[in-house]
Amino acid sequence: MVNVDVDRTQCQNFGQCVVEAPKVFRLNARDEMEYTPVVDDSELENVEAAIDVCPMQAISLLAGR
């Protein structure tokens, strides 16, 4: 599994992560980013892409088991 972490003090809800990994990140009705913290390995590449494009560099992977 892939463990995703978002630094909420940094995130400004740009939504660029939603474009790269729509199964992991989404914007809710108030345009706030929500995400699934534990996702399947098949999402790793998309999460890596989301990490790359986050303007605030707020996303990271936590060491998983």
């Binding site: 740009f14 939504g15 914007l27 345009d31 494009v53 303007p55 605030m56």
Partner: protein, 406 residues
């Protein structure tokens, strides 16, 4: 070998490793700092404590063995002999070369580069120096009314400075935002006390050792303690001069990001990524253009890194990778006070803007059109609505770029 240790250089190194290249990897950078994120330098970071740690990109494990030659400026290259020359005169050989040397700020006059109180903003060191000068009550003149100038103006105002923006256009950020949105953003700046002198240029910077003011084209004078020059950039391509490359308005590349010779053939072993590259984009009719938006270094580096890795491995997938359409969607954002702009596409190409949602004095979404084709979308807030138009503005062959993009 990668020349340039900023976003494009870092992402190229990562892409090479991700695509299976395990050989030696050297990255030269003329700054002493490891790669860091530049956009916050005119926004949050400039408003608080400026430090490299606050903006450094996290290093991935895959690039732990990259040799970072920081503080080592590459002065020249000989592409026929596959060698670069560093500032200390030593020659370094390469098997493949990636140019990721980016931009440097233009200055108003040669002498302002060494004038106390005059600043350009590109590096974290620039930001630190400017931050120290933005003390409450300081009189600040920002020359240049694009995103960078307006972001610095907003931050300086927030820090309690007296701020005047001098711009050559009729409205600030007029090309990328269109007249209606640009006028509204200007109004919000004025509401917060920023003064604008639009349609105006600076003819003289006054002061001997330190800046004392500027004189404008109409003869009027603006005394100031701090002068910020945000008048655009020059691409760092001089180190490749003397080689068979097309470096006008950026290094011209094919869609695989390989640098082109003057006759249009590609150098097999020389790539360019990021702000320094002028590349064909399938969205814009394959007309080569440099796009100075933050997401482009990442997109072009991933493309170049993957193709180069396949090429170095002699992988048969190389031809397929090169033939894949390359169509990165430009995206930009800007924060000024509580005005949070986000855009996709290239609004600057448009001949018409239309309010699509919201109201201009609050949150809103504008669409930008060439005829009936939507080429850009930009919003204040309303992020989901803006994103909803991303596919619409990024169709292949959508519109040809008539001139280099902003």
């Amino acid at each position: 070998m990668i020349v340039g240790a900023s976003l494009g250089g870092l992402r190229t190194a990562e892409a090479l490793r991700r695509s299976g290249y395990a050989g030696p990897l050297e990255v030269f950078g003329d700054e002493l700092h490891a790669p860091y994120n530049r956009p916050p330098l005119s926004k949050d970071v400039l408003g608080g404590e400026v430090s490299h740690a606050a903006v450094a990109f996290p290093q991935r494990a895959t690039t732990a063995d990259v040799e970072w030659r920081l503080g080592t400026r590459v002065e020249s290259a000989d592409l026929e002999r596959r060698v670069v020359c560093t500032a200390d005169g030593s020659e370094v050989r390469y098997r493949a070369l990636v140019a990721a040397t980016g931009l440097r700020p233009k200055r108003l006059f040669p002498r302002t580069a060494s004038l106390a109180g005059a600043f350009a903003l590109r590096t974290v060191d620039d930001a630190g120096a400017l931050r120290d000068a933005l003390t409450p009550g300081a009189r600040v003149v920002v020359v240049g009314s694009g995103f960078l100038g307006c972001e610095v103006a907003a931050t300086a105002r927030r820090l309690g400075c007296e701020v005047t923006v001098v711009g050559s256009a009729r409205l600030p950020m007029q090309r990328p935002l269109g007249a209606a949105l640009a006028a509204e953003v200007m109004r919000r700046h004025e509401e917060r006390g920023v003064a604008f002198r639009m349609g105006m240029s600076v003819v003289e910077v006054q002061g001997g050792e330190a800046v004392e003011g500027v004189r404008l084209a109409d003869g009027s004078e603006l005394p100031c303690d701090v002068l910020v020059e945000a008048i655009g950039s020059t691409r760092n391509t001089e180190w490749l001069s003397g080689n068979d490359v097309d470096a006008e308005e950026g290094l011209r590349t094919d869609s695989a990001m390989r640098v082109l010779r003057a006759d249009g053939r590609s150098w097999e072993d020389v790539f360019a990524v990021g702000d320094v590259a002028r590349f064909p984009n399938a969205i814009y009719g394959e007309v080569p253009a440099a796009i100075e938006h933050w997401n482009i270094p990442t997109e072009t580096a991933k493309r170049a890194g993957r193709i180069l890795a396949l090429q170095l491995a002699g992988d048969p997938l190389l031809d397929d990778a090169i033939a894949e359409r390359f169509a990165p969607v430009p995206s930009f954002w800007s924060d000024q006070y509580d005005i949070r702009l986000l855009a996709y596409g290239l609004p600057a190409l448009a001949d018409r803007a239309e309010l699509l949602a919201g109201s201009v004095d609050g949150d809103c979404v504008f669409g930008y059109f060439v005829g009936s084709r939507m080429v850009g979308v930009c919003g204040i807030g309303m992020r989901s609505a803006v994103m909803g138009y991303r596919d619409e503005v990024s169709r292949y062959g959508h519109v040809a770029i008539g001139e280099p993009a902003p």
